[in-house]
């Protein structure tokens, strides 16, 4: 694949290196001359000094035949605008943008960026997984399908303790996939499986039903 990377900072540099190792054709555009020279010195002549928002520069590097366009500068506005130019002027099939300020995710999605990567939120999700007392942990987000895979720990005080799954009012579209308990091995639940205190429940749920799921499993 031919991949264009915008921004040769730490993220852009490492990404370019990894993509080259995988055998892709890569060009990285970087505004700073010294940084461009550094990347070329390390990785060969893949770095070009230029602004990833300039249409002339993008034409010169052959954006029209790129399979993927990845903007990973530290400035959200530059990442957004360069991806929009790639998409609307050069018809690049896949645009990927790094989002530095988590609040910008909405506008990136609204404006059709194919893969918005909200780095702050991704770090946060990893932290959540390491915090054992967190009531609801995100394990995996399937954006296209609109499904979150989450883990919910059942506190001893929850009204769900001692109840069969069929008797718990789970939110619409939610499926319980696995139960991991302290006293028993992980098992695939049936409608008659009874929840115990401190069970860890792995469930698939639409993101907007997360709060309802938490209430159903952890509410008193």
């Amino acid at each position: 694949m031919y991949i264009i990377v915008i921004g040769g900072g730490k993220v852009g540099f490492s990404l370019t290196k990894a993509l080259l190792d995988e055998g892709h054709e890569v060009v990285v555009l970087e505004k700073d001359q010294a940084r461009t020279d550094f990347i070329s010195g390390e990785l060969g002549s893949v770095a070009i000094r230029g602004d990833g928002c300039e249409l002339n520069t993008l034409s010169e590097v052959g954006t029209g035949r790129a399979d993927m366009f990845v903007a990973v500068t530290g400035d959200d506005e530059d990442n957004l605008v360069s991806c929009q130019i790639a998409k609307h002027r050069f018809n690049v099939p896949v645009t990927v943008a790094r989002i530095n300020d988590p609040n910008n995710e909405t506008i990136f999605k609204l404006l059709g960026i194919d893969v918005p990567i909200n780095s702050t939120m991704e770090i946060l999700e990893h932290i959540e997984q390491r915090v054992p007392t967190h009531p609801l942990t995100h394990l995996l987000t399937l954006k296209e399908e609109g499904v979150e895979i989450v883990e919910v720990r059942i506190p001893p005080t929850a009204s769900a303790v001692g109840k069969a799954i069929k008797d718990i009012a789970l939110p619409e579209g939610t499926t319980i996939g696995l139960i991991i308990g302290k006293k028993h091995k992980p098992y695939l639940p049936t409608p008659n499986s009874v929840l115990e205190a401190d069970d860890q429940v792995i469930a698939a749920t639409p993101p907007e039903r997360e709060a309802a799921l938490r209430t159903a499993l952890r509410g008193k």
């Binding site: 928002c53 959200d76 530059d78 957004l80 609307h88 609040n103 609204l110």
Partner: protein
Amino acid sequence: MKILIMGCGRVGAKLAELLDKAGHKVTMLDTDEYSFRRLPGDFGGTALVGSGTDQEALKKAGIGDVDVFLTLTQGDNRNIMAAQIARHIFNVKRVICRIYDPRRKELFGELGIETISPTTIFAHMLKEKITGTGQG
């Protein structure tokens, strides 16, 4: 009219002065408080410190009920992003975006933003001054 201007540079401050004198309700938004020194002493509008690409700052500046939002910072991309936030998230009736780069102006004009390129306008003006003909 209620008018919100992002960027209190020379153009932004001058425009704010003119609109304020004409009786409009003007709010200025700039990340640098020092830029407000450009506003006249008798400026009757509001000046707020904040970024126009920050949705919270836009809300505080009253973007929900403005008639016109103008993006006049030095950064083309910042102007474009703020203009698109105003249009697509806050549904502002009229958004005017300054874009220095004529080719970027053309593209985002096609994408539904009202854009102005001072570069093109000024170049045509100078050409007219010299040759007596504007466009073409």
